[in-house]
């Protein structure tokens, strides 16, 4: 189904997760403006053509505390090339008619103009939601209210270290989907999936009726298939960003095609 002007971000996200039966949704992460504004838009289009169900689009930030070396370097390169949040919103606007776009943006960028202003700009660019990795539950009320008003889903994150009380509170306030961070650490490719992953997904499922997507440390087709059997969505970041840097849109399309095929096979 295509995005319509009437649907809220949460509804478009829900449709994207529900659109393919039992297969898990594939959500690649791309750094907005990396390796250039044009190439990152082309990479997003290639990702959609190759089977991405949602796009997580990163807004480059000077101090990305949740990111490992690959995404950090991509963001730094984008900033050095002069990419602004406004540029990333233009990329978002170009992709949004074809696929739900969730912006991954750090808190200070959201707060710089006030959360209402940022949420309104993001909504006007067609974004379906925001992921703010340094805005935990305890600090999120103001931004969530601004997103609700603008029709955006503020996606909440759960970590393996989250206590049962926190998982319950995060689930109760979640919008769109819940982002389960697979491991203690920053983004980046890992050789092995963490062994406690299925337990984490079960804990999150018990706290919400929304889809649960897993990210951090997933890069190979085998890992994606394993996670896809547990969760409703699979988020792949550093592997895709690395492909965009090394081989542009064609390389991104190839990686996404391989991951989508692995999810279809299950």
């Amino acid at each position: 189904m295509s995005a319509t002007g009437a649907a809220t971000g949460a509804e478009r996200i829900a449709a994207a997760f529900a659109g393919h039966g039992k297969r898990a949704a594939l959500m690649p992460y791309l750094m907005g403006g990396h390796p250039s504004k044009e190439e990152s838009l082309a990479a997003g289009e290639a990702a959609v053509a190759a089977g991405a169900d949602l796009i997580e689009l990163g807004v480059p930030f000077s101090d990305p505390l949740a990111d490992g070396p690959v995404i950090h370097a991509a963001g730094t390169a984008a900033l050095e090339a002069g990419i602004t949040p406004g540029d990333v919103l233009e990329i978002c606007a170009a992709l949004a008619p074809r696929v739900p776009v969730v912006l991954m943006v750090y808190a200070n960028v959201v707060l710089a103009d006030g959360p209402e202003a940022f949420a309104a700009r993001a909504a006007a660019a067609g974004a379906a939601g925001l992921i703010v990795p340094d805005l935990p539950q305890d600090e999120a009320d103001e931004v969530r209210a601004a997103c609700d008003t603008a029709g955006l889903a503020l996606v909440a994150l759960v970590a393996p270290s989250s206590t049962p009380e926190r998982v319950a509170a995060i689930g109760a306030n979640a919008r769109g989907f819940v982002y389960a961070v697979s491991l203690a650490g920053t983004t980046g490719e890992r050789a092995e999936l963490p062994p406690e992953l299925s337990g984490l997904v079960e804990r999150v499922r018990a706290a919400t009726d929304l889809p649960v997507a897993v990210g951090f440390g997933i890069s190979t087709a085998e890992q994606a298939a394993t996670v896809g059997a547990l969760a409703d969505g699979v988020i792949v970041g550093s592997r895709v960003v690395r492909a965009a840097g090394e081989g542009g849109a064609a390389a991104v399309g190839a990686v996404i095609g391989e991951l989508a095929e692995a999810l279809r096979r299950g």
């Binding site: 505390l65 730094t76 200070n108 710089a112 935990p136 305890d138 103001e142 206590t163």
Partner: protein, 383 residues
């Protein structure tokens, strides 16, 4: 706006992964601070190992020149040469109590890294210090000191390769390793409970100062003056005077090449609000919310944020924040060396420079001499 620890300022703007670790740390700190055995052990170390209380010295020739009494709180005489050891010892003692055997820290000029490496040697804890590659080049002797003390110094290559990136690298390490590791943050910055915990560990400066001035002159000082980077020596000095309405509190930031040039380290004096390293506070940033690089001759003040309690004290009007340029700080560095035979660090040289430009004839001022200047000789002599 939401109420945080310091009016609208403070909070925990960090990945969810770290929240349970911060909650654990807050509980552990409250318990330790109320435990007589813990405070007794820390007090004994501060006395016998650090050399506290640090002296209050009436600067004879400086007082004569300015026509007033200037009292210097001699944190430069502490073991390792600065106030940083007060915090580093307290936090490593807390980490040992919490069963964390691995310590990480960030450092700019190296003073906090040396203090943390020192405390870890004393308590037999593993120590990793993150330091910007550019700072490692500029501060080679402190890198060697840390390594001699048994620490591993990790070079940080991101961004301008200075303090801001070193803090970010330490936070990323902590996100991955908080189960086994304590992060000894070096200033009154970062997510809660750090700003309040570091303040509590540094308030020994102000508690001693208040009593020492009362003993020396029979009354409180007119002004307490301290430099502010992240703001740990200053918050420690100011807080015991917070309710003494007649005592003026002056925080001196680094104006670098001049506030008007944009190349400075004065987030409090220039007014911006934002999130840096886990706290909502005063931050140098552009209109998009990108954090800007700070500029100062003093590596210890070369940081684009200040602690959240300072931002609140500014808004409340309790502390006045001013800024002093590199050149004036260097002049003050040289002047104190010649007048008093005390070589100050470049950081408190900013506070001295403000006092020289704004004397208080016939009055009594106290100034925190937060560290000694040996580390800065090359920087000053090269100018």
């Amino acid at each position: 706006m939401r109420e945080r620890e310091f009016g609208p300022y403070g909070g925990r703007f960090v990945p969810e992964t770290l929240i349970p670790a911060l909650e654990e740390l807050e509980r552990a700190w409250i318990e330790a601070a109320a435990d007589e055995a813990f405070t007794a052990e820390l007090g004994e170390l501060l006395r016998d190992y650090v050399g506290r209380p640090s002296p209050l010295y009436r600067a004879r020739r400086l007082s004569e020149r300015l026509g007033q009494d200037v009292y210097l709180k001699r944190e430069d005489l502490n073991h390792t040469g600065a106030h940083k050891i007060n915090n580093a010892l307290g936090q490593t003692l807390l980490a040992r109590r919490m069963g964390k055997r691995r310590i990480i820290a960030e450092t700019g000029a190296g003073q906090h890294g040396v203090a943390t490496a020192t405390a870890c040697a004393l308590m037999d804890l593993e120590c990793v210090v993150y330091m910007g590659a550019e700072d490692m080049r500029r501060q080679r002797p402190n890198v060697e000191r840390m390594e001699l003390l048994g620490a591993r110094v990790e070079s940080v290559e991101a961004g301008a390769r200075t303090l801001k990136e070193a803090v970010s690298a330490a936070i990323r390490d902590w996100v991955a390793n908080s189960g086994t590791t304590h992060y000894v943050i070096g200033s009154a910055v970062g997510p809660a409970p750090y700003p309040a915990m570091v303040r509590d560990l540094q308030r020994t400066i102000g508690d001693e100062l208040r009593e020492q001035v009362l003993t020396a002159v029979g009354r409180l000082p007119d002004r307490v003056i301290a430099c502010v980077g992240g703001g740990s020596n200053s918050i420690g000095a100011f807080v015991p005077f917070a309710l003494d309405a007649d005592v003026e509190l002056i925080g001196v930031e680094a104006a670098g090449e001049g506030v008007a040039t944009g190349r400075h380290s004065a987030p409090l004096a220039t007014g911006a609000r934002g999130v840096l390293h886990g706290a909502f506070t005063a931050v140098l940033q552009d209109a998009d919310g990108q954090v800007l690089e700070a500029h100062s001759i003093s590596a210890g003040l070369d940081y684009p944020g200040a602690g959240p309690e300072h931002a609140w004290l500014r808004d409340e009007g309790r502390v006045s924040y001013v800024a002093v340029e590199d050149d004036a700080a260097v002049d003050a560095f040289k002047l104190l060396s010649r007048l008093e035979g005390i070589i100050p660090a470049l950081e408190p040289s900013h506070a001295l420079a403000w006092l020289l430009a704004n004397p208080n004839p016939g009055g009594v001022d106290a100034l925190v001499l937060s560290g000694r200047g040996d580390k800065d000789l090359a920087e000053v002599l090269a100018r």
